[in-house]
């Protein structure tokens, strides 16, 4: 009924019910809420939280309407409107200025928009009860709103430059979220690391954008999409552009070796980490790759780069996740492997499957972090070794965690089973053995890593520690339970592909020139078998955390992430610091030289300092003599130049 009404509504950027206008509302509502909170209600915790939740709810409604319109209108594709057009109602040349800032509501943006706003809303409902008074709820809600605004901006960007601007805002929001408990030294360090790495990626992206603009004179995604293959730029040029854009995306989406900030982001409070890992900062790199996919699609080597980097990230992330001692770090590393899978899928041309994975993976990952927040708050520890036996004490958290683990592991019929099945179908259609093995192995190991977390935390005996009484553990209730139960619904249902046509998640987001490969039963069977087998093996292996002595060096190396972080530290201390010191020394010398020139001119310009008895007339004569000399020299030089030319 509503769909028919919307289908009858007029279309176009300036009409009342256009998806573009709704998308603009979804973008501006969190910003308005943030400004209201900062301007008027900073002193009232309850009012600020209420404003935050209500405005985000409105944004969710807008996002749902955008999705509904995009489903109802197969023809209404990819129209964008600049902010100037939206705000002034003007169309035409005056409003089409060069940068083309605005919002773009197409199916890709719609999918991401609903993921961002809905996760943000549920996370806020959870935070209403989770963030205690002494943690500063007003600050927390402001940060969440800011992150939502930044992420929505990335989602709706029409051009590379607008994307870069919102990438910067996302970087800042990541810093604010990871460093939320800034009193903790590790949190502050992790926030700084996340900020620096993201910023390095932004710089690479800026270089790529400069190169693209230099060559094409255009930054709009849609306009550019048809121009890459036009022969304006050689294959090498396209490859370099792809590398630079990929670096920007890799720093955000934690592709190896720029992943070093992701495990540290587990330092964020549980709701913030849930937003960060499900639809927030960690996903906007994948989104950029999807948005700029035409560029990668034009260069086969760039696609290969995506596949290699994604595959490496996926395998390393899942291996590291298996050896983490810290609950939130273990979940964070599984995010890394999923991000690797998404990039790998883009690399092998499974465009729709990759976006589907973004959508399907958001819910279980948010739910995992929210459940982990409850566990950590009740147990007052983040170490998996000190957990256990929670199944009887917190049944509700146990059930939602079980659903999240099943959904994240890809056990049918939960959400990521369907997206991983779609990826593997594409790999099978390509007959690429490496891609098939990678996806299967990552599914298998990912199931192991997630079930290991569940097994260690919920079964066995509750570890006895001093000054800790397991009897006092209480299950989640109230708003926390509400948020988690609501999140469990898309975990179960987000993957359903029963209905054909536009509502099929894979056919919804398409890229011209990339064929949608129908899933076949072989792929579904392989994924289901890998996930169930991995889950079963993990269930048996991790029954009791029994340290295997032979594996100890491997375990330590893996737990530290193969020393990549240490390498970063060494690189920063051993290379960057001396380099910056040397640069500082050179800068001082250059500065002194410039100062010397300027000072000597200034000194010569005040002859009374060094010629105490000079008369004004003599100075005038000197001036005229100088003029004559300058004129003579100029004329001689000009004569030579003109003589050469003419």
């Amino acid at each position: 009924m509503i769909l028919t009404l919307l289908a009858a509504a007029p279309k176009g950027p300036l009409d009342t019910w256009s998806p573009t206008l709704l998308a603009l509302f979804a973008l501006l509502l969190p910003l308005i809420a943030l400004l209201i909170i900062l301007a008027f209600t900073v002193d009232s915790r309850r009012l600020s939280a209420a404003i935050s939740v209500i405005f985000t709810l409105a944004a969710v409604v807008c996002a749902l309407l955008v999705v509904a319109i995009e489903i109802a209108h197969p023809i209404h594709l990819e129209r964008n409107a600049t902010f100037l057009q939206l705000l002034t109602g003007q169309t035409g040349s005056a409003s089409e200025f060069l940068l083309q800032w605005g919002v773009l509501a197409d199916p890709l943006a719609a999918v991401m928009l609903i993921a961002v706003t809905l996760t943000s809303l549920l996370v806020q409902v959870y935070a209403l009860a989770f963030i205690r008074r002494e943690d500063g709820p007003v600050r927390f809600f402001s940060v969440l709103l800011f992150a939502t605004f930044a992420m929505t901006g990335v989602t709706l960007s029409t051009s590379y430059f607008e994307m870069l601007l919102f990438f910067g805002l996302v970087t800042l929001s990541t810093y604010l979220m990871v460093g939320y408990w800034w009193q903790r030294e590790e949190a502050a360090a992790a926030a700084a690391r996340a900020f620096v790495l993201s910023l390095a990626g932004d710089l690479a992206l800026l270089a790529g954008i400069a190169y693209i603009f230099f060559r094409f004179g255009e930054l709009n995604f849609q306009t550019l999409a048809t121009q890459y293959t036009g022969g304006k730029v050689s294959a090498n040029g396209l490859f370099i552009m792809s590398i630079l854009v990929f670096l920007g995306a890799a720093a955000k989406s934690a592709q190896f070796p720029l992943h070093a900030w992701l495990p540290g982001s587990a330092q964020a409070p549980a709701p913030a980490a849930a937003l960060l890992h499900s639809a927030g900062a960690a996903l906007c790199g994948v989104y950029l790759l999807a948005r700029a996919y035409a560029l990668f699609h034009a260069s086969p080597r760039a696609l290969a780069l995506l596949a290699i980097a994604g595959g490496l990230t996926a395998v390393l992330g899942v291996l590291w996740a298996l050896f983490q001692e810290n609950l939130k770090r273990a979940i964070a590393y599984t995010t890394m492997s999923e991000l690797g899978l998404m990039v790998l899928a883009l690399g092998i041309g499974a465009y729709g499957a990759s976006i589907f994975e973004v959508f399907a993976h958001a819910w279980p990952k948010a739910l995992l972090f929210l459940a982990a927040g409850v566990i950590i708050r009740e147990l007052r520890t983040e170490r998996l070794a000190e957990m256990g036996g929670l199944w009887r004490r917190m049944p509700l958290t146990g059930w939602v965690m079980l659903i999240a683990v099943a959904a994240g592991a890809g056990i049918p019929p939960f959400s990521t089973f369907w997206s991983k099945d779609a990826m593997l179908s594409k790999a099978l259609a390509l007959r690429s053995p490496i891609a098939i093995i990678l996806i299967t192995a990552v599914t298998f190991l990912g199931a192991m890593a997630l079930v290991r977390i569940f097994r260690l935390a919920f079964t066995g005996e509750t570890a006895r520690r001093r000054r800790f009484e397991p009897e006092r553990i209480r299950d989640a209730g109230g708003r926390i339970a509400t948020a988690m139960v609501i999140l469990a619904i898309p975990c179960t249902a987000a993957g359903i592909r029963g209905i054909r046509g536009r509502t099929d998640p894979i056919a919804f987001v398409t890229f011209p020139g990339v064929t949608v490969s129908n899933s076949h039963f072989v792929a579904a069977g392989i994924i289901a078998a890998a996930a169930v087998l991995g889950a079963g093996i993990a269930w048996v292996i991790y029954a009791r955390p029994r340290p295997v002595v032979a594996l100890e060096p491997v375990r330590r190396a893996m737990a530290e992430g193969l020393f990549v972080e240490r390498a970063y530290h060494f690189g920063a201390a051993g290379l960057l610091m001396p380099a910056s010191r040397a640069a500082g020394w050179i800068e001082q010398r250059v500065d002194a030289t410039v100062d010397l020139v300027a000072d000597s001119v200034a000194f010569a310009g005040q002859p009374r300092r060094w010629l105490p008895d000079v008369r004004p007339r003599q100075l005038v004569i000197g001036l005229l003599a100088g003029m004559v000399v300058l004129a003579t020299v100029t004329m001689m030089l000009a004569g030579r130049v003109i003589g050469k030319v003419g």
């Binding site: 008369r615 004004p616 007339r617 005038v620 004569i621 005229l624 003109i642």
Partner: protein
């Protein structure tokens, strides 16, 4: 000798020399100011001459515009210079340039 570029340039140089002499040799501030105006106008004449005959003939409007600007700025400068001269005269009842004022 027809009225070519050289004639104007010689005239311009003569005017410049007169101005420079007035600036250097005369002790009266009024005359020195007058000398600077001569020199400005010499430059302006050179610009116009080049614009009419010389290398800049293809951009004739450019040279004339510069001459106009130079003239306008010269007048502004003269106004300030005269104002200063009047102030100096009020203070010391003299317009000598070389007078030691401490």
């Amino acid at each position: 000798m027809s009225a070519g570029l050289n004639l104007f340039l010689v005239g311009s140089a003569a005017l410049l020399a007169v101005g420079a002499f007035a600036l250097v040799a005369r002790r009266n501030a009024f005359v020195a100011l007058l000398g600077t105006q001569f020199m400005f106008m010499a430059g302006g004449i050179a610009f116009v001459a080049f614009a009419r005959f010389g290398l800049g003939a293809s951009h004739a409007a450019g040279g004339q515009a510069v001459a106009l600007f130079a003239g306008a700025i010269a007048v502004a400068e003269l106004a300030i210079g005269l104002a200063m001269a009047v102030l100096l005269y009020r203070e010391g009842h003299s317009l000598g340039i070389d007078a030691d004022r401490g």
